[in-house]
Symmetry: C2
Subunit: 208 residues, 2 copies
């Protein structure tokens, strides 16, 4: 689409603003802008101001680096959570994914990335110091690494495992194995191999 | 996703605002909000204010019903366009699609919908009066119906053809036929049948 097609400069600006977001092309952007135009004036003002307010007032939790409304997120400030267990994740979407399981009651640490030499992301580019200060000062008993099961995730797992080996704590990673609901014949051989090596006693499964 | 998953109310509000747009689910909305958070504060303010400004200042062209920055869009106010030929389209996206062909030099009329009894949209729900007043007062010579080739499009074509039959003008529709680049064996039989009935002299094609 060339710019001269737009009958309105205001419309063009609005389309360009949407189109700068990842995964939104010009056609989708136009569709979204036309949908916005069908809303009331108040609703559109609310739409626009929500993002401005978010950017102005957002905090990152001083303890876990998660997005928060104040200096301490509602997970870190919850006394009912186990503050001796840290689940290390790449980003806030992963916090939500783990929370959604309702199987974890400790606190989190959001790295804000994973080590990826291909993308030029090294250990200094992710939030490790904050994690180490927690490990050092708060008597952490277990760190659960919940990163993607990719080369980058494994590199980060290995780096942190080495770095924290001097502290008296247990380091674990989330289990790798065949997804629940998967047909065995379609599982790849590395996953299937892993799931045989790390086989689970039957009574562990049956007690869930 | 349940609401208790969000670690921040501001974040949740922003996600919900995106998710009210058509085709944007909660997961996509979260991805977009996180992308917005990576922008500068000024860029986010600009993002939000663009939509507020659009809604506050947008006009609809008094002549053709197209979206415009003023009372008259830049197509209707262009003296170089042929003001005796009107291309009737459903919405402003169709204006852009026709403009993009660079094959049309007349003016437009945006109906703002097509007659669709199934959806309860009748002739009174679309902008026909404005079109008729142009036909009556401006000595229009040709109306080109450029609607979707669906039942609703054909119904609207037929309704307007009947309505304007009392005026001394020519009414045409855009050609229906096999798309350029299509393999003949995959064309449906109705389209192919139409394209045989409305076959074009070879010299018309070769002169383009």
């Amino acid at each position: 689409m060339t710019t001269d097609q737009f009958s309105s400069k205001l419309l063009e600006n609005a389309v360009n603003e949407f189109a700068r977001l990842p995964g939104i092309g010009k056609k989708t952007a136009l569709r979204l802008v036309l949908a916005l135009l069908r809303l009331d004036k108040e609703e559109v003002e609310n739409f626009g101001n929500t993002f401005i307010e978010l950017k102005r007032n957002i905090h990152y939790c001083k303890s876990c680096n998660n997005i928060s409304d104040s200096d301490m997120c509602n997970i870190c400030s919850n006394p009912a959570r186990d503050h001796k267990t840290i689940c290390v994740v790449e980003n806030i979407k992963d916090v939500m994914a783990v929370e959604n399981t309702h199987q974890y009651h400790g606190i989190y640490h959001v790295l804000g990335g994973i080590i990826s030499p291909m993308d030029g992301i090294g250990p200094d580019d992710i939030e490790i110091d904050l994690l180490e200060s927690k490990v050092k000062n708060n008597g952490i008993k277990e760190i659960i690494m919940a990163l993607s099961t990719t080369m980058e995730g494994d590199t980060t797992n290995f780096y942190l495992f080495k770095k924290f080996s001097k502290y008296p704590l247990q380091m674990t990673t989330i289990a790798r194995g065949v997804s629940i609901g998967d047909e065995l014949e379609y599982a790849d051989e590395i996953t299937l191999g892993r799931s045989i090596i790390n086989r689970t006693p039957m009574d562990d499964i049956l007690s869930i």
